[in-house]
């Protein structure tokens, strides 16, 4: 027997209209991003496959594989990223652990020491390190007056300075997710572990630490990806000795106006970033990290 379906067409139309209107609220945002970001970057993809004579060619990519300077740049970029991430973990994890054990009020106060640099301009922080680490800068002056070393050490315009600056900038990105994960751990679990016979150290490594791994992973991932594409701090503190991919891209445009080379590098950078994110998303719920979707 055929069921009676009154108003079916009209109701369906209403439903689509409503969905369209809601989705349409996001259209200015989507439009802007398409025009300013997606299309230009798509164009960059295209340009990377255009050679000097204006036809399709892979010479930009070949150059990257051939020239030793490019190999060094990739190596430097990965080195800096790995070292920065590693140092951030070594320094940031204990601090996060310390703060997570504090009562709420005091913990929030301590968090300000992490958030204050986070909110301060990147340029200001980079400049601060430039001033502190220079030959006649504070660090050298104080170290020499304390007798730590006799001659001023060169700590800026090299890898050391770059690393110090990068670690300082990236620390909050690691500490915040790790702290969040630690705070979410039920303190009763540690009591249970003790009760069941675990020594404090054993309890930490078998109960607490594994539970913080998602946050640690998320934070490290974020730091690593940010380091890969980072420009300002290495450019200032590296003084031309530490050349990362982003700096090469900029110099390719600014100095040589070589769009082919720059965009090829950019594509490599973008593809590596996306690949790492994709691999990580297999192990981590990215949406939970950024709190998105439904």
């Amino acid at each position: 027997m055929q069921a009676i379906r009154t108003n079916e067409a009209g109701l369906r139309r209403d439903e689509w209209l409503e969905r369209l209107k809601l989705f349409g609220l996001g259209s200015p945002a989507i439009l802007l991003i398409l025009i300013i970001l997606v299309i230009p970057v798509g164009w960059l993809f295209y340009v990377s496959f255009i050679g000097a004579d204006g036809t399709f060619s892979l010479e930009n990519y070949e150059r990257m594989l051939r020239r030793k300077s490019y190999a060094r740049i990739f190596q430097t970029t990965f080195e800096v990223s790995f070292l920065t991430t590693g140092l951030c973990i070594l320094i940031g994890y204990p601090l996060a652990y310390f703060i997570s054990g504090l009562p709420n009020r005091i913990a929030n106060l301590c968090l300000i020491t992490v958030l204050l640099p986070f909110w301060t301009s990147l340029l200001v922080r980079t400049y601060a390190w430039l001033v502190l680490l220079q030959k006649r800068g504070l660090v050298n002056e104080w170290a020499m007056s304390l007798g730590l070393w006799d001659e001023p050490i060169k700590m800026v315009h090299n890898m050391t300075g770059t690393l110090i600056g990068m670690v300082h900038i990236m620390l909050p990105f690691l500490i915040l997710p790790v702290y969040g994960a630690m705070r979410a751990i039920d303190r009763d679990l540690m009591k249970a572990a003790s009760n069941l016979g675990a020594s404090p150290r054993h309890a930490f490594w078998t109960v607490f630490f594994p539970l913080t791994l998602p946050g640690l992973f998320a934070g490290s991932l974020m730091v690593f990806i940010l380091c890969l594409g980072f420009f300002v701090t290495p450019a200032v503190l590296g003084g031309g000795k530490v050349i990362m991919v982003s700096m090469k891209i900029v110099s390719n445009i600014e100095l040589f106006v070589n769009w082919g080379a720059a965009s090829a590098l950019g594509v490599v950078l973008l593809v590596s970033t996306v690949a790492i994110l994709w691999i990580a998303s297999r192990f981590l719920n990215l949406e939970k990290m950024t709190g998105g979707g439904h």
Binding site: I36, L37, V41, L116, M190, S246, T290
Partner: protein, 278 residues
């Protein structure tokens, strides 16, 4: 005092004494985190070219230099204009987008969300050179318009994420109640939902402002000519030599940032929803 060293600090009964190394380490790290940021402030009052700490002679020399320089002033105005316009553009667009995504039942929501956070995921350098080329074609290179549009795109993911997570924690049945009482959806949003997510909206606006104000790489490429930003000039100055004027500018920037954060706290502060008494 000694007793404190022997009292337990954790659920696993480790004493404070055993954890002393952690406390010392933590304090050292916290000091190292904050000091570089703050030390610029007193150093900016140093009279010498080398910015000593503590300053041997106190002077406003570098501030005079900054305020007295037409280029620096023009750049500052540009930065402020760009930041305010970015804030005014990115916040409504982002809040609406977050609301639309939150209420939307379409299957493309996930894809739309990923699209909206791409500006955060793509390396800034690429955004910068892409925008540079696009603006040359559109002939809006070195204009304020172009700068604001690019900064808005950079700020949008933050607005969407912050507002989105506030909406997640919000009881949408309140909006439904308002609609059942006679308010069309837009009115229900404005009179009921928005007041309750205002902390997130204010924070997003602040983040949008700061994203634009502090932004270096994109500004390096697309601001210039008549409209260089403060950060662009600062960066160029840093690359060449250490101009102590930058210390005074940095201090001012720190004050602006801190000021904004205080404002956000004052305007946006939301009371914790309390539980019913029975």
């Amino acid at each position: 005092m000694l007793r404190w060293f022997r009292s337990p600090a954790t659920e696993t009964q480790i004493t404070h004494g055993q954890r002393l190394w952690l406390y010392v380490l933590a304090v050292v790290i916290m000091v190292l985190l904050v000091t570089p940021t703050l030390i610029v402030i007193p150093m900016s009052f140093s009279d010498s070219q080398y910015l000593e700490f503590p300053p041997e002679t106190w002077s406003m020399r570098w501030y005079d230099h900054y305020f007295g320089s037409p280029e620096w002033m023009r750049a500052t105005v540009t930065s402020f204009k760009a930041a305010i316009l970015t804030m005014l553009l990115a916040t409504p667009i982002g809040v609406l987008a977050a609301y639309g995504l939150h209420c939307s039942k379409v299957r493309f929501v996930r894809a739309a969300f990923v699209l909206m956070i791409t500006p955060m995921m793509v390396p800034v350098v690429l955004v910068a050179i892409g925008a540079f080329y696009a603006y040359v074609q559109l002939q809006i290179l070195y204009t304020l318009t172009g700068l604001v549009l690019a900064h808005t795109v950079l700020a949008l993911p933050l607005v969407v994420i912050v507002t989105g997570s506030a909406l997640k924690g919000y009881d949408m049945s309140q909006e439904a109640a308002a609609r059942s009482l006679g308010a069309p959806r837009w009115k229900a949003f404005l009179t009921v939902t928005l007041p309750q997510i205002r902390f997130a909206v204010v924070t997003s606006a602040l983040l949008a402002f700061l994203t634009s104000f502090d932004e270096v790489v994109v500004a390096m490429f697309i601001s210039g000519g008549d409209n260089p930003t403060l950060t662009r000039n600062m960066f160029n100055a840093l690359r060449d030599q250490i101009d102590p004027t930058i210390a005074s500018i940095s201090t001012i920037m720190i004050l602006v940032t801190t000021g904004m954060m205080v404002l956000a706290q004052l305007f946006g502060q939301q009371k914790e929803p309390t539980r019913p008494k029975d």
